[in-house]
């Protein structure tokens, strides 16, 4: 008998492009958002077809956690929008665009999806609308009769034909166009771009430029001297098109999935491009002012990054979690009544409760549970216990020792002296001499009340053991939202989920925060605090030193007997021996460390007196703990890079000197060097450097923008450096990488 096919999707994530294949449970959020969009479309299309101004547009932000169903809802709403290319070009409507999928940067989106959805003929028609408007204004000024004006205004007669027949001044009509556009546009950039529409000598030039081609010489002389080659420029160009089409009675509707991807500086970076966000805000304003519609998906925490002005113009609609009834409905969409695996009502309720109504998790749990339960030879009923097994399998690390090992490494790397626990799930970091301590407690998933009660009792026990107890809870597994709140109330901080992403950084920052709270509460005297901190920093440096020594030993071993002393002053020589491309990687990395640490330029302006006004009455604090930590990390990073340079240069020397040596061994040795760098760099808190640099005082948005760009470049330079060096060196040496 064949194993029945699991009906639940392998990857329960929505791509807007293939949305039609999915089923939608009509939750309260779906109903509300659909009504909102339908209401807009009825109103906008009605106005457009009556040739009336659409009036104010709308912006709807659908917000919810990952997997809450935002993209699905967006996909559902997209199906309500008219096609981007209307069936009948003569019938005005709303121009709809959908942005989703692996695009990322707005420039790419603009080039690949937005401008390509428009065509040149329609663009010319839109420009004609403005010409007609300007002609009408002129006819009115000349007190022309209504019989002449009306057909031009209603676009029944081409305005250029009327202008030619009455010998109206084309110059004045074009001046009118400019003035009109300037009246309604408050942004200089946009106004400058729109003035290009009046461009009779080469009407294709502006369209070519909008299609990201290099500007024609005539455009250059009129102030457009660069192609659209950045996100900010693409936003401006699209805002211009939105404005033009919107005011001409063809409002835009734009659906954006995962706004964060468009805004993030790099990959998963939590910081957003300041310029991109500003450009996006401007775009939203243009949409609203021109009767357009924007629907976007955004994580709740991202809303905080919006300016007050933008936030006020956006209707935020959180995606409501699936109720038990919604969950039952969803599961029944996938599982037939006579399926070989069926979910009991209590199992379906367990899925709803444990998933907190998160539809992605619901589907994932269902799929895992199905796989656990399915038997080829008989029909199986799924129970709540099976659901709990599935959720453990998903969230818990295969061995609890992995989690405790990570916690231990964070404590040691940062100099926190701790008591070794018997159970390996509780780490005490004493503070002061009166029993105050920070405890890191590791717990497994809390999937029912009994488990929650056990965890709470342990926490209460720690808190009651002595005065001045701070508890950090690390969850190896899954926490229901309610349980999370319960634990948060007990320990006055959010429990941490164990994941590989940023876990070390987060744990260290929680440790520092707990330490600060104890300090402030007076559980440590000043001297105790200083002593603890000195001990901690000492331990941290010892750890770091041992790490560097280990690295030195590793590289020494890799270099073999030919090597000179590691970390020697011969690094400039080593650098000189490298091929240009490899040297470029290293130079960039050295610059990055300096940029990120900010140490190089730290005191540059400290002793400068202001040109105007009195000198500051209170001197600025010149140094801080963050600075010292940053400087320490920068120094270690610098040393690490020096060692890496030396090792790579030696490897190249060897390969050049002994070309007959087995290529595989040589490649393996290089791989060892690069890997050694990567694993060592991994434990150095690069984020601390970036955080320190980003926390420095800035004077304005431009400076923030420049800093943000520098930071991005620096992080890029250090990320995957080992891999890039390896590839370049192998290419230089004419060796193929190992499979």
């Amino acid at each position: 008998m064949n194993t029945p096919v699991n009906p639940f999707p392998m990857t329960p994530a929505v791509l807007l492009g293939d949305f039609h294949a999915l089923t939608t449970v009509r939750t309260e959020s779906v109903t509300l958002a659909t009504d909102y969009v339908t209401d807009y479309l009825d109103y906008a299309l009605g106005a457009v077809r009556r040739a009336e101004t659409v009036g104010r547009g709308r912006c709807l932000a659908i917000t919810g956690k990952l997997g809450a169903g935002k993209s699905h809802l967006l996909g559902h709403l997209s199906t309500r929008l008219p096609p981007s290319v209307p069936a009948d070009p003569a019938m005005p409507g709303v121009h709809a665009f959908t942005i989703g999928g692996p695009f990322g940067r707005f420039l790419t989106i603009y080039r690949e999806k937005l401008i390509t959805a428009l065509d040149r003929e329609e663009f010319s028609r839109i420009v004609q609308v403005y010409h007609a408007d300007a002609t009408v204004r002129m006819l009115k000024r000349l007190n022309a009769s209504e019989e002449i004006i009306a057909p031009v205004r209603d676009l029944r007669t081409p305005s250029w034909q009327v202008a030619r027949r009455y010998h109206l001044s084309e110059d004045e009509i074009r001046r009118n166009m400019h003035e009109r556009l300037r009246e309604v546009i408050d942004t200089d950039d946009l106004a400058a771009h729109l003035s290009l529409l009046d461009f009779p000598e080469n009407p294709g030039a502006i369209w070519e430029w909008l299609n990201c081609k290099a500007p024609d010489q005539a455009l250059i002389e009129r102030g457009i001297d660069e192609p659209i080659d950045s996100d900010a420029k693409a936003f401006t160009a699209f805002a211009m098109l939105t404005f033009l089409y919107g005011r001409a009675g063809r409002p835009f509707a734009l659906v954006i999935d995962e706004l964060e991807k468009m805004m993030q500086e790099t990959g998963d970076s939590p910081s957003w491009h300041v310029e991109t966000l500003q450009a996006f805000e401007r775009l939203v304003n243009v949409f609203i002012d021109t009767g357009g519609l924007i629907v976007l998906c955004v994580l709740p925490e991202s809303l905080r990054k919006f300016s007050g002005g933008l936030y006020q113009r956006v209707l935020v609609q959180p995606v409501s979690p699936f109720t038990r009834a919604d969950t039952v409905k969803l599961i029944k969409e996938y599982v037939d009544a006579d399926a070989p695996v069926w979910f009991s009502p209590s199992a379906m309720y367990a899925v709803a409760d444990l998933s907190d109504g998160n539809p992605r998790l619901i589907l994932d749990l269902c799929r895992r549970t199905w796989d656990l339960a399915c038997r080829p030879d008989r029909r199986v009923e799924i129970t709540p216990e099976m659901v709990r097994r599935a959720i453990r399998a998903k969230f818990e690390a295969p061995r609890s020792s992995i989690v405790s090992g990570e916690v231990r490494q964070v404590l040691e790397a940062n100099g926190w002296v701790y008591d070794s626990p018997d159970e390996d799930d509780e780490f005490h970091v004493p503070r002061g001499t009166k029993g105050a301590a920070i405890t890191v407690l590791i717990i497994d998933s809390l999937l029912h009340d009994a488990a929650l009660n056990r965890a709470v009792r342990r926490i209460e026990g720690i808190l009651a053991s002595a005065d001045g107890q701070e508890v950090i809870v690390v969850v190896n597994g899954y926490l229901r939202a309610g349980d999370r709140m319960e634990i948060s109330r007990k320990i006055s901080r959010q429990p941490m989920a164990f994941d590989h992403h940023l876990f070390r950084e987060n744990l260290q920052s929680q440790l520092l925060e707990a330490h600060r709270l104890l300090e402030e509460a007076g559980h440590e005297t000043v001297w105790e605090s200083i002593r603890d901190e000195v001990l901690r920093v000492g331990a941290q440096q010892t750890y770091t030193q041992s790490m560097v020594e280990r690295l030195a030993a590793d590289i020494e071993w890799l270099r073999g007997p030919m090597g000179a002393g590691l970390l020697s002053s011969a690094v400039p020589d080593a650098r000189e021996r490298l091929p240009a491309e490899v040297r470029g990687h290293f130079d960039r990395a050295f610059r990055a460390v300096e940029t990120l640490s900010g140490v190089g330029s730290l005191f540059d302006d400290t002793f400068l007196t202001p040109r105007q006004g009195p000198p500051p009455t209170r001197p600025r604090r010149l140094a801080s703990r963050e600075l010292f930590e940053s400087a320490g990390v920068a120094m270690v990073f610098h040393k690490l890079l020096q060692a890496f340079v030396e090792a790579v240069a030696s490897w190249l020397d060897t390969v050049t000197r002994f070309p007959s040596a087995a290529a595989e061994q040589q490649i393996e040795r290089l791989r060892g060097i690069c890997h050694c760098y990567e694993v060592t760099a991994e434990v150095l808190p690069l984020a601390r450097l970036a955080a320190f640099e980003s926390g420095r005082e800035t004077t304005g948005l431009a400076e923030q923008g420049a800093r943000s760009s520098q930071r991005r470049e620096a992080v890029d330079a250090l990320t995957n450096l080992g891999l890039r060096v390896q590839e370049s060196v192998l290419a230089e040496a004419g060796l193929s990488p190992l499979p």
Partner: protein, 327 residues
């Protein structure tokens, strides 16, 4: 049918209405110029500078006319070309008068190549050069000029012209950019004169940089196109019409045309005030031409101007008719 004072003589098959005056080609056009706005002053300035051909012998020239749409830039340039042509020695049949009043082409040592109606791909000066050469060759002239490089080609052409005792005036399409003017000046050589006018785009560019003050146009252009010891840019700005120009133009044309319908100054003032958008000589002439085209009209009155005063919709029906039928 009475003659239309605003009609210009035309070559067969040519639609005369919209064509600028071209006295180097149709000598009768010389009589059609009326001194409106500053055009006459500019022309006189040009004639003073080029009172004979000596100025052309040792330098290349670019003559640039700037002004709004239909302000008379092309007509002015054509008049300047005719003036240079007039300075040339007559060639061809012995005794041919270069200022002959018949409409046959004038033969002169000053060769005029009219490329003003053509459009050339951007950044392709060599095509333009090739066109100049082809036109001259088609007139029976022989050159040793190389076509490999445009600048070298013009230099060789200049040398050939010197050997033959000829001069060349090239009437170019409107220049879109300052860079284009700069290029023309780069290519200009002894005995070669390029004449071009500003496109709307170029006029916008120049106006933007000079805050729209025509008296600063020449300085701006000098600064932008560069200076050469053996090449010069001569700039003329024309238009718009001044208040008295409307009547002056009508009066002079009507007086020069026997049996023309009568018209009075007050009516012209009414039309001028009502159509305040009409500021160019080209626009004004087109309206007058259409008004005076009516049959059986001894005196022009307000009713004849009514369509252009934008009352009612008497011209409406004509949109449906072919444009040629309107004349």
């Amino acid at each position: 049918m009475r003659p239309n004072p605003f009609n210009h003589a035309a070559r067969p098959l040519e639609r005369s209405r919209d064509s600028p005056l071209r006295p180097w080609d149709i000598t009768a056009h010389e009589e059609c110029y009326v001194a409106v706005d500053d055009t006459e002053d500019k022309y006189m300035e040009f004639c003073t500078l080029f009172e004979d051909l000596s100025a052309l012998q040792d330098a290349g020239h670019v003559i640039l006319a700037t002004g709004g749409t239909a302000d008379g830039k092309t007509s002015l340039l054509n008049r300047c070309a005719a003036a240079l042509q007039g300075h040339g020695l007559p060639v061809g049949k012995e005794g041919t008068d270069p200022k002959s009043k018949d409409d046959s082409p004038v033969h002169s040592t000053v060769k005029i190549v009219d490329l003003s109606g053509l459009r050339f791909p951007r950044e392709n000066d060599s095509t333009l050069y090739q066109e100049v050469l082809n036109t001259l060759v088609s007139r029976g002239m022989k050159f040793s000029s190389s076509t490999e490089d445009t600048a070298t080609g013009y230099a060789a052409l200049s040398s050939d012209l010197g050997d033959m005792g000829n001069y060349l005036v090239v009437l170019l399409p409107p220049a879109d950019t300052v860079e284009r003017v700069r290029n023309y000046l780069r290519f200009a050589r002894n005995r070669i004169v390029f004449m071009t006018e500003s496109s709307r785009g170029l006029l916008d560019t120049i106006s933007r940089h000079t805050r729209g003050r025509p008296e600063h146009f020449a300085d701006f252009l000098d600064e932008q196109v560069g200076r050469y010891p053996d090449r010069y840019l001569f700039h003329m700005h024309v238009g718009p019409l001044k208040p008295d120009d409307y009547w002056k133009y009508v009066k002079e044309r009507v007086e020069k045309t026997p049996e023309s319908p009568r018209i009075n100054e007050e009516l012209i003032k009414v039309v001028r005030d009502r159509r305040s958008d009409v500021t160019s000589i080209g626009q004004w002439r087109k309206i007058l031409f259409e008004v005076f085209s009516r049959n059986r009209m001894d005196t022009v009155d307000e009713t004849h101007f009514e369509p252009y005063l934008l009352f009612g919709a008497p011209l409406w029906k004509q949109f449906m008719e072919p444009e040629d039928g309107a004349v």
